[in-house]
C-alpha cells in the first residue's frame, strides 16, 4: 500500500458568494505525479493556490504527512511552485534565480553555487548561469523556473499550467522532461492543466474537475476507458454516441439501427422502450472487414481525416454517425468519401452513460 503524502479534506472556497471549490476530498501518495484536469474556470488554480498558501480555504483542511498546514504562510510550507507566466526575477541572472531560495534559506555560497550548477545540469542548461531571463526562450525560462522551484529540495512541487504559453513541439518535449526529472527526484507533484492529452500522457493519476467538484480520480487508463460520468467521458478524449432503444432490460438487449444487440454495460435501472445513449471511443470501432465484432452496422463514409499514423473516418449510419480510427497501412489507401462501409463494435467496449 502506497504511503499517503497529501490529504485534502472537504475543501471549500468561495469568491464573493460564488463557490468555486465545492467540498473537494483527495489523497495523493508520496512521489506521485497527479494532474488536476478540467476546463478553464473549474477551480484548478484555486485548489493549487490553497495548497501553496496563497488563498485561505473557507473550510476544510490540507494535510501534508498527516499535519494540517493551514496555519503556515507560503514561505514556511517548503513547497516548490512553477507558474504559467514563468515569473523569473528579471533583475537576476539564471544562476541567481535558481539560487534565490537557497540564499533565503541561508545556504553558504560554495554549497549554493554547487547546488545551482547541479540544477543547471538537471535541466540541461549548464553554461547558461550568467544569462538573464530576457535572453532565454520561453521553454528555457520555464526550465529555469523549474530548477528554481526544485533547488531548495521542497517536499512537494506544484505546477500551474506551466506549458500553456509554449509552442506545441516544445510543450511535448518539456512535459516529458518534467516527468523524467520528477521521477528522478521522486517528488510528489501536482500538475494543473486543461489539456487532457497532456494529463493522460504524464500523470500517475488524474483528478478530473468540473465546476469545483471532483468528477473522477484515477489512473489515465481508468479515466479514459472507464469514465464514471458523462462529463469525464466527453471531456477526456473523443466519444461516439449512438442512440438506441432498450428492447429487454432483463436480458440487457437494445435495438440499434434495426438490429437487436446485447450490451453488457446496460444498467439495471433501464426500462423497456427507454431511449439510451451508447458511447464508445473511436478506436473501439473498426472497419468490419473480417473482424469479429458482435455489433455490425452498415453506413457510408462521410469524412476522411488523414492524421499520419492514424486515419479517422466519420461514418454516416442514417440516424447515427460514428468516428472511428484505423491505423495507416502503406499498402491500403483509406476508403473514399461516400464509399459504403461496414463497421464493427465489440459490445463489451460500449459504455452506457447515466448522468
Amino acid at each position: 500500500m502506497a504511503e499517503e503524502f497529501l490529504r485534502i479534506d472537504k475543501l471549500v472556497k468561495a469568491f464573493g458568494g460564488n463557490q468555486v471549490v465545492k467540498g473537494v476530498d483527495l489523497s495523493f501518495n508520496k512521489g506521485e505525479f497527479v494532474s488536476l484536469l478540467g476546463p478553464s474556470g473549474c477551480g484548478k488554480t484555486t485548489i493549487l493556490r490553497m495548497i501553496a498558501g496563497f488563498e485561505r480555504p473557507d473550510s476544510g483542511r490540507i494535510l501534508v504527512e498527516g499535519k494540517d498546514i493551514s496555519g503556515l504562510a507560503p514561505n514556511q510550507r517548503k513547497i516548490g511552485m512553477v507558474f504559467q507566466a514563468y515569473a523569473l526575477f528579471p533583475n537576476m541572472n539564471v544562476a541567481d534565480n535558481i539560487g534565490f531560495g537557497l540564499k533565503i534559506a541561508g545556504m553558504p555560497k560554495p554549497q549554493r553555487e554547487a547546488r545551482t550548477e547541479e540544477m543547471l545540469q538537471l535541466i540541461g542548461l549548464s553554461g547558461y548561469g550568467k544569462r538573464y531571463p530576457f535572453e532565454l526562450s520561453g521553454g528555457q525560462q520555464q526550465r529555469v523556473a523549474l530548477a528554481r522551484a526544485l533547488a531548495p529540495s521542497p517536499r512537494m512541487l506544484l505546477l500551474d499550467e506551466p506549458l500553456s504559453a509554449l509552442d506545441a513541439k516544445i510543450r511535448v518535449s518539456l512535459r516529458e522532461q518534467i516527468r523524467q526529472i520528477q521521477r528522478e527526484l521522486g517528488i510528489t507533484t501536482v500538475f494543473v492543466t486543461h489539456d487532457q492529452e497532456e494529463a493522460l500522457s504524464i500523470s500517475d493519476r488524474i483528478v478530473v474537475l468540473n465546476t469545483g467538484n471532483v468528477e473522477q480520480f484515477g489512473q489515465p487508463f481508468e479515466i479514459y476507458n472507464r469514465p464514471q460520468t458523462r462529463f469525464v467521458a466527453t471531456f477526456v478524449g473523443t466519444l461516439n454516441t449512438l442512440n438506441a432503444t432498450v428492447a429487454d432490460a432483463g436480458a440487457k438487449t437494445v435495438t440499434l439501427g434495426g438490429t437487436t444487440v446485447t450490451i453488457p454495460a446496460l444498467p439495471a435501472s433501464a426500462r423497456n422502450g427507454e431511449a439510451v445513449a451508447l458511447t464508445m471511443r473511436p478506436e473501439a470501432v473498426s472497419l468490419a472487414n473480417g473482424a469479429t465484432r458482435d455489433i455490425v452496422l452498415d453506413g457510408k463514409v462521410a469524412e476522411v481525416s488523414f492524421l499520419g499514423s492514424v486515419i479517422r473516418l466519420k461514418v454516416d449510419l442514417g440516424d447515427n454517425a460514428v468516428n472511428l480510427d484505423t491505423f495507416n497501412d502503406q499498402r491500403t489507401p483509406p476508403p473514399a468519401h461516400g464509399a459504403p462501409v461496414r463497421i464493427g463494435i465489440a459490445s463489451s467496449d460500449v459504455l452506457v452513460l447515466e448522468r
Binding site: A52, G53, F54, A73, P74, N75, R77, I79, G80, M81, F83, A85, Y86, A87, L88, F89, P90, N91, F100, G101, I104, A105, Y132, P133, F134, L136, S137, G138, Q141, A145, R148, A149, P152, A165
Partner: protein
C-alpha cells in the same frame, strides 16, 4: 518646403526663442562683471562664497534625506496598494496629489502652528527638529512625483506573480520588496529621486519661513544685494535642474530587462 510645415517650424522656433533668449541674455549678462569683456568672475565669486557652499550642501543633504524618507514611505505603500488593495488606488492617488493643490505657504503655516515650541511636539524648538520638519515638508512636496514614478515602475512588472514566486521560495515581505520588487523598479525610482532633487534645490517658501539657509534662500539674498552674481546663480541652478532632468532621460535607456512573454 510645404507652407504648413514652414508654419510649424516657425511656431516651434518662436516657442524655443521664448525660453532660450532670456536664458542666453542672463548668461551673457552674468559674464559682463568687468568692463573689458566677458569673464567668469561672477561664477568664481559665487563658487568661492562660503554661504553658497553651505547652503548648497545643506539643500543637497536635505534633498537626499527627503528622497530616502519618501522612498521608504512610497515604495511599500504603492506596492501594497497594487498587490492587496487595487480598489484603493484612486483614493491613494488623490491623496498623493494634495501637495499640488495645497500651496506651500499654507503647508508651512500649518506646520508652524502644529509644531511650535508650545505644541505637544515642539519640533521647531530645536535646530535638528526644524531640519527634520523641513525634510518631511519636502517629502510631502515630492509625494505626487515620487508616487507616480514608483507606480509607473510597478506597472511594468507582474507584481503579484513575482511576489508569490519569491514568497513560496521562502522570502518574507521585507525581503521581497528589497530583493525582488525594488531592483526591478530602480529606474523609475531614480527618476522620481532626481525630480525630487530638482524641486528641493529650487525651493524657497517653506525653507524661508522655517528660517533654514537653503540654496533657494541664498539665491534670494544674493539677488537682493548684488548685480551680476544672481545671473550666474540663475544659470547654475538652471544647469542643476536640467542636469537632473537629463539624468532621468538617461536612466530611461537602462529600463529594466523584463522577461520575454511569448
Amino acid at each position: 518646403m510645404k507652407p504648413a510645415k514652414l508654419w510649424s517650424w516657425l511656431i516651434f522656433a518662436f516657442g524655443a526663442a521664448y525660453f532660450i533668449v532670456p536664458l542666453l541674455a542672463t548668461f551673457e549678462f552674468s559674464l559682463r562683471i568687468r568692463r573689458e569683456g566677458y569673464t567668469f568672475d561672477a561664477y568664481t565669486s559665487v563658487f568661492s562664497d562660503g554661504r553658497f557652499q553651505a547652503s548648497f550642501s545643506y539643500s543637497l543633504i536635505v534633498g537626499v534625506c527627503a528622497i530616502l524618507a519618501g522612498l521608504l514611505i512610497v515604495v511599500p505603500a504603492a506596492y501594497y496598494v497594487r498587490l492587496r488593495a487595487p480598489h484603493l488606488r484612486p483614493i491613494i492617488e488623490f491623496i498623493t496629489l494634495l501637495p499640488l493643490v495645497i500651496p506651500a505657504i499654507i503647508l508651512v503655516f500649518g506646520y508652524i502652528r502644529m509644531y511650535n515650541t508650545s505644541s505637544p511636539l515642539p519640533l521647531l524648538g530645536t535646530n535638528l527638529g526644524t531640519d527634520i520638519l523641513l525634510t518631511l515638508a519636502y517629502v510631502a512636496l515630492a509625494l505626487p512625483y515620487m508616487y507616480r514614478a514608483v507606480d509607473t515602475g510597478l506597472r511594468t512588472i507582474d507584481v503579484q506573480t513575482l511576489t508569490e514566486a519569491a514568497n513560496i521560495l521562502g522570502a518574507n515581505q521585507a525581503t521581497i520588496i528589497a530583493k525582488v520588487i525594488f531592483p526591478n523598479i530602480i529606474v523609475a525610482v531614480l527618476s522620481g529621486a532626481f525630480l525630487t532633487l530638482a524641486i528641493v534645490i529650487g525651493e524657497f517658501t517653506i525653507a524661508s519661513l522655517l528660517n533654514r539657509q537653503v540654496f533657494g534662500v541664498y539665491m534670494q539674498n544674493v539677488g537682493a544685494n548684488r548685480a551680476f552674481e544672481p545671473a550666474a546663480l540663475a544659470v547654475i541652478s538652471f544647469v542643476i535642474t536640467w542636469g537632473a532632468m537629463g539624468m532621468i532621460q538617461l536612466l530611461a535607456r537602462f529600463a529594466p530587462k523584463t522577461a520575454r512573454r511569448d
